[in-house]
């Protein structure tokens, strides 16, 4: 099971500010829902865990993250992460290129191009959910990324009672950061529902 995801998320900060955060792998990983760097092998190799929760279902993956390249001039970062779930029956990998595109002095776009692939039981049974889930995960990533840049943006955010996700805590792939993601989702379903 492979899904391609190309998404653009507007950020309310300058391109340089965003780029600084994007280069901080540990923080970037921390923005992945339920993700955490467990140890650093060297500058470009890390070990970590990711927990994805979809309603009642949850999978947590243990694996390796490799920084394939950092291009300062293009403010672009290329990551590859792969791992197997804790029951050994599923595996996943994500090839992500994230870059920052300046809009104006105070805002920019975070552009993510990624290919997520699934193997094992998750692929056999999750096919129906995989696209949407990967979308949510990316949406949350952007939400958390923004939250780090602009804590205010989170407090200002409407609806759910819950606080913004703490690093490493697996979250409901839609529940928590919903209010924040909503606007981006709207752009996914532009002219459609919601």
């Amino acid at each position: 099971m492979k899904v391609q995801l190309n998404r653009t998320f507007p950020l309310p900060v300058s391109a340089d500010t965003a780029w600084v955060l994007l280069q901080d792998i540990v923080s970037v990983a921390g923005c992945m829902p339920g993700a955490r760097i467990t140890d650093r092998v060297d500058d470009t190799h890390y070990k970590g865990t990711v927990g994805v929760k979809v309603g009642p279902a949850s999978l947590s993956f243990r694996g390796d993250i490799e920084v394939k390249g950092v291009d300062a001039s293009a403010r672009s970062l290329h990551l590859f992460a792969k791992g197997t779930d804790t029951t050994g029956s599923s595996a996943a990998s994500m090839d992500l290129t994230a870059r920052v595109e300046a809009l104006d002095a105070a805002s920019c776009n975070l552009v993510g191009d990624s290919e997520v692939s699934m193997s094992g039981k998750a692929a056999s049974f999750g096919a129906r959910l995989m696209g949407p889930v990967a979308d949510q995960v990316l949406g949350q990533f952007a939400a958390n990324f923004t939250a780090r840049l602009q804590p205010a943006a989170v407090r200002a955010a409407p609806a759910p009672a819950q606080a913004p996700p703490a690093e490493g805590k697996p979250l409901n792939a839609l529940g928590l950061a919903w209010a924040l993601i909503k606007s981006w989702l709207r752009s996914l379903f532009a002219g459609k529902s919601s």
Binding site: P56, K121, F125, R128, N172, L174, F189
Partner: protein, 288 residues
């Protein structure tokens, strides 16, 4: 296929259940009919540390009328719905819909509340609830709140139900006399999710549509309401031209996930086809 170990709780009252939910927090899952949750647990996709079984709470089961409102306890089974004379008379759409759900054994255990709370876009009740403009009673530590079905479903497995709340009751205003209804569902076989399905509630005024609700199952990350199609049909006669246009508008909001049932193209087309058929069937039943 054996679930991971967990602890089991069977509270006798809603308040006890809410208390437990508060104590156990995120490690607990509510168990209703179990036909979505238990298979997930057997595959070890879900490994809750605690299950809170709502099955022993008598107050959560039953169908009654209060004024112009029908009230259904969240633990009322799909089979109860299917056999309810009250619903057959007042809300026949629910009875028709329940008949399309899974198979007899699953309907005996599966509950209307579980179907709704699960938040799976492939479940049938969300579309039926939104089409009927139902309301849900959510009970939490701070008491009850009542929310509209329309807007309750946020997305894939996500609803407005908070982690510390339980869906306890479904409230449906009895549709106006003469309303037409239909739930048209296309599936590969008994027990399968819908490839596409449409629920319609319809009121006619003479030859023209007075009021219509059109909702779609398994057409996106959650139940979809075909608002454009509804707006378009208002005041129009239901003929080939208007049916085609309504179907086209309904297809426009679909964002189905391709799977073994078909690609997005097919599923979108089937949303259109089910919409057209549901409108026709509802029209045939509506009395102006």
């Amino acid at each position: 296929m054996i679930p991971a170990a967990f602890d089991y709780h069977a509270p006798r009252s809603v308040s006890d259940a809410v208390k437990l939910l508060g104590q156990l927090g995120a490690d607990a899952k509510l168990l209703a009919g179990g036909h979505s949750l238990l298979p997930m647990m057997k595959l070890r996709f879900a490994e809750p540390a605690h299950l809170i079984d709502l099955g022993k709470i008598a107050e959560l089961r039953g169908i009654s009328q209060a004024g112009d409102e029908v009230r259904i306890g969240a633990m009322t089974t799909e089979d109860d719905v299917l056999r309810s004379p009250l619903l057959a008379q007042k809300v026949p759409l629910l009875v028709e819909g329940a008949g399309w759900i899974a198979d007899p054994q699953v309907r005996y255990k599966g509950t209307i509340g579980g179907d709704i709370s699960h938040g799976d876009p492939a479940n049938d009740q969300p579309a039926l609830m939104v089409a009927l403009d139902a309301s849900f009673v959510l009970t939490g530590p701070k008491g009850e709140r009542v929310v509209k079905a329309d807007g309750y479903f946020l997305g894939l497995y996500s609803t407005q139900l908070a982690d510390n709340e339980i869906l306890t009751q479904i409230r449906i205003s009895v549709p106006a006399a003469g309303s037409g209804w239909s739930y048209c569902k296309l599936k590969r076989k008994t027990g399968d999710f819908a490839t596409a399905a449409t629920a319609v509630m319809l009121q006619m005024k003479g030859k023209a549509v007075a009021k219509v609700a059109i909702t779609l199952t398994n057409a996106g990350p959650t139940v979809l309401k075909a608002r454009d199609a509804e707006k378009y049909l208002a005041g129009k006669a239901l003929d080939d031209a208007s049916l085609n246009e309504a179907a086209r508008l309904a297809m426009g909001i679909c964002d189905p996930t391709p799977d073994q049932r078909g690609d997005a193209d097919y599923k979108r087309a089937m949303c259109g086809e089910m919409t057209r058929r549901a409108l026709q069937a509802a029209h045939a039943r509506a009395k102006a």
